[in-house]
């Protein structure tokens, strides 16, 4: 059965490479992408059902490195089985959806290949039992995120967002690399079990664990690395779904879960994690409420939700373990994927992702409407959807942590969790109201939402921002039944439509079906996903009291928003002062801070170039100049005058005599 474990990683990786190499033809690319995703799902299911509980599935053989053991093993247990399955499932849904979503994009083949590679990276992190392999998967995800976010590289905003996403996570990866190196040095091995069981080196351990936390903070978008994630919405919606649902941002949770044994014993590292997570979840949830763009709203909600997972790991007592965190990871994977796919569908309908443009369009398809409803409800934590269970398990774990004597970090987390529950419910309600309330005037789409328009204007004025709303009108604009060519569609690369008319028609019917199926499947999983968690110890543990409190909070927040929006007649966020809202849309200057940092680095780089030219390189040039000058001076003194030569001779004799006689022993 070990081949299943390996194949789970290898199949999507091969699919990714094959997609790159063979992806000239769209049907082949589709086949490879969806087929590989399906195969992976089946394999992951098999592994989950019958986990090997072994930690030494060999891959390519250990690296011969003398004093460092690098076995490069994979691991198959219940945790990796479940998470792999969920990841594979979500990826399958996204791949299926993508076939529809990018039906006219001539870059579909590389995109699908990128998604496959991305999945391979995530699955490698999940299956890995070796820190090096973890890092490999980790970095591959980062790279694929760059490719996917920058998919529409014609647009400056997409290019910038991709660059920003990769750079920010890469900066955090500095700490990740150092952390992993530190952990492996302790054990003289990169093997996960060896690292976990190594008892010595406490000081180094804390350092390493904190470094890993920082690395995780980068990929998971914890403060202060949070700002790349909303910008990453520049990518096509399936890419956003992929990054936000089950893979990249959640990978940090998984890595920390794998190292939980070490974290459980290390209060300092967990405190750092707790503080970062607590700040992030509240901050992001707050920002989400004010967003004018559906995808950005979802992005901020992702930040907040991922922080919840990590908070679970930070606060849960050792006895509870990783269950709450992983449970929320899985639940979030389902509903967030659902929300993004739904958002993409909506955007395809209205040609924009701005909430103002979408007003009421959630009603245009019943599946879409209910899908969004389920997704938002799950996000808010409404029972009995999966979000309710997982989130309340986290709250419960945090409360248990307080009881367990965790002190400060558990308190911080618990307080932040309740605040987040309140805020989450608020922004979910606001979004739902915006999507589901038909606009008052039948002609204008945007008239009724003056407030949000103002905000968009504010946002548009900020030239530094890449996320100019006007630039974001690039989702498939027409309704799905009559797909026209996109404006930037390159005729050379286009499918030969005319020659294959029947196939074209068949496609026209088939493609929306794929979309519908994937959204429906995810909706179902969002409803029933809690069942999956039954197999994972500790991932479902809802306390009565905390559940009651959170439900009351949700209801209260929802009601308040409903009231504030005058029963849906206007945007609830209009109650927020405009300046605050504009700041929220702009991420409160985080982007400017990043840019300032970047400019500082560039300034240093310019200094380096100047130094390189004028200082480091000055010596060779000075040497050359001196040589030439000396030569010139020499030529002047050598004018073939015999007496000068004589003086030279006599002076030389004196010199030699002095040197010779004095140095003689």
């Amino acid at each position: 059965m070990t081949w299943v474990v390996r194949l789970i990683v290898v199949v999507p990786a091969i699919a990714g490479l094959a997609g790159l190499l063979l992806g000239r033809s769209r049907p082949i690319a589709r086949g490879i992408a969806v087929g590989a995703a399906a195969a992976t799902t089946v394999l992951a299911l098999a592994q989950w059902v019958a986990p090997l509980r072994t930690a030494d599935v060999t891959t390519f053989g250990a690296l011969p490195l003398g004093d460092l053991s690098v076995p490069l093993h994979l691991l198959s247990d219940r945790l990796s089985g479940l998470v792999s399955f969920v990841v594979a499932l979500v990826v399958l849904a996204i791949q299926t959806y993508t076939v529809w979503y990018l039906r006219d994009d001539r870059r579909y083949p590389p995109f699908a290949a990128g998604v496959s590679l991305f999945a391979a990276g995530m699955l490698l992190v999940v299956q890995s039992s070796d820190l090096v392999l973890t890092l490999v998967g980790w970095e591959i995800m980062g790279w694929c995120s760059w490719l996917l976010i920058g998919h529409d590289s014609e647009r400056a905003a997409a290019r910038r967002a991709a660059y920003k996403a990769f750079l920010v996570t890469r900066v955090a990866d500095v700490a990740m690399v150092v952390g992993l190196v530190t952990l492996s040095v302790r054990a003289r091995s990169t093997d996960l079990l060896a690292v976990i069981t190594q008892p010595e080196g406490a000081a180094l351990l804390t350092f390493g664990l904190v470094c890993v936390v920082i690395g995780v903070a980068g990929k998971s978008g914890l403060v202060p690395f949070q700002d790349w994630l909303p910008d990453a919405m520049e990518g096509p919606t399936p890419a956003s779904a992929l990054i936000h649902a089950a893979t990249m941002v959640a990978a940090g949770t998984y890595v920390i879960a794998r190292l939980f044994t070490l974290y459980a014993a290390d209060d300092a590292a967990r405190t750092v994690l707790a503080v970062l997570a607590a700040v992030t979840m509240v901050y992001a949830a707050g920002l989400a409420f004010a967003q004018a763009d559906l995808k950005r709203l979802l992005a901020y909600s992702t930040l907040s939700q991922v922080a919840i997972m990590l908070a679970a790991l930070a606060a849960a007592p050792a006895s509870v373990g990783v269950g709450p965190g992983i449970g929320h990871l899985i639940g979030h994977a389902f509903f967030k994927a659902l929300l993004f796919l739904g958002a993409g569908w909506l955007a395809a309908l209205v040609g924009s992702t701005a909430l103002a443009a979408m007003a009421g369009r959630g009603r245009s398809d019943v599946l879409l409407r209910w899908g969004m409803a389920i997704g938002l409800a799950a996000l808010a934590g409404v029972p009995p959807l999966v979000g309710f269970f997982t989130k309340d398990t986290v709250i419960d774990a945090a409360l248990e942590g307080i009881g367990d004597g965790a002190g400060f970090r558990a308190w911080v987390v618990a307080v932040a969790l309740f605040a987040t529950v309140l805020l989450t419910a608020a922004y979910c309600m606001r979004a739902w109201l915006l999507l589901d309330t038909p606009p008052p005037a039948p002609t204008g789409v945007t008239e009724g939402t003056e407030g949000s328009l103002d905000v968009e204007a504010v946002a548009a004025r900020e030239t530094e921002r890449p996320l100019d709303v006007s630039e974001r009108h690039r989702e498939p604009e027409a309704v799905d039944e009559t797909p026209p060519a996109r404006p930037d569609h390159h005729p050379l690369h286009a499918e030969p439509h005319e020659s294959r008319l029947p196939a074209q028609l068949r496609e026209a019917q088939l493609l929306p079906l794929l979309r519908t199926v994937s959204v429906a499947a995810l909706a179902a999983l969002t409803v029933l996903g809690a069942l999956l968690l039954l197999t994972l110890a500790g991932s479902l543990h809802v306390g009565w009291l905390s559940a009651l409190v959170s439900v009351l909070l949700i209801a209260g927040a929802a009601g308040a928003v409903w009231a504030a929006s005058r029963r849906g007649a206007r945007d609830a966020a209009d109650v927020v002062p405009d300046r605050v809202r504009a700041g929220a849309v702009a991420g409160y200057g985080a982007d400017a801070a990043y840019a300032a940092l970047g400019r500082a680095v560039i300034a240093v780089a310019r200094l380096v170039v100047v130094l390189d030219r004028d200082v480091v390189d000055a010596y060779p040039r000075a040497f050359a100049a001196t040589a030439h000058a000396a030569g010139r001076a020499g030529v002047r003194t050598h004018r073939a005058v015999p007496s000068v030569a004589l003086i030279g001779v006599v002076a030389g004799v004196l010199l030699v005599a002095v040197l010779g006689v004095t140095a003689w022993r």
Binding site: R639, A640, V641, P642, S643, L646, I647, V650
Partner: protein
């Protein structure tokens, strides 16, 4: 064996005078004389050293003769060159920067023909 110091000191004085002459004189012939003084110092030293007991072959004296002979040959060549120089340049000043401009046109590969004519 009488004191060797005196002849040696005389030789030193001679050599010093010779070097002074070489350095101070602009005229080539006078420089030649300076060189002769140094050579005489060498000769004096050789003869002095040769006077010591058991110095066989009379090496000191013999080598002195050698040096005198070589010096003679040297001077002859030197005077020949100086003579030609005087005819060509009109002076024998050693501190002058030599005039290296090409001579009167002559067939490139057979330069020097006229030189010998002049020397005769």
């Amino acid at each position: 064996m009488i004191h060797l110091q005196w002849p040696v000191m005389l030789a030193a004085v001679l050599a010093g005078l010779g070097i002074y002459g070489v350095l101070a004189r602009r005229n080539a012939v006078l420089v030649l004389i300076g060189v002769e003084l140094i050579l005489n110092a060498a000769n004096l030293l050789l003869v002095t050293a040769g006077t010591r007991q058991d110095s066989l072959f009379a090496a000191g004296s013999v080598i002195t003769l050698f040096v005198i002979t070589v010096a003679a040959g040297e001077i002859s060549i030197a005077l020949a060159v100086i003579l030609v120089m005087f005819r060509r340049f009109g002076h024998i000043d050693l501190t002058a920067v030599p005039d290296l401009t090409p001579d009167a046109p002559e067939p490139e590969p057979t330069t020097g023909v006229q030189g010998e004519v002049v020397e005769r």
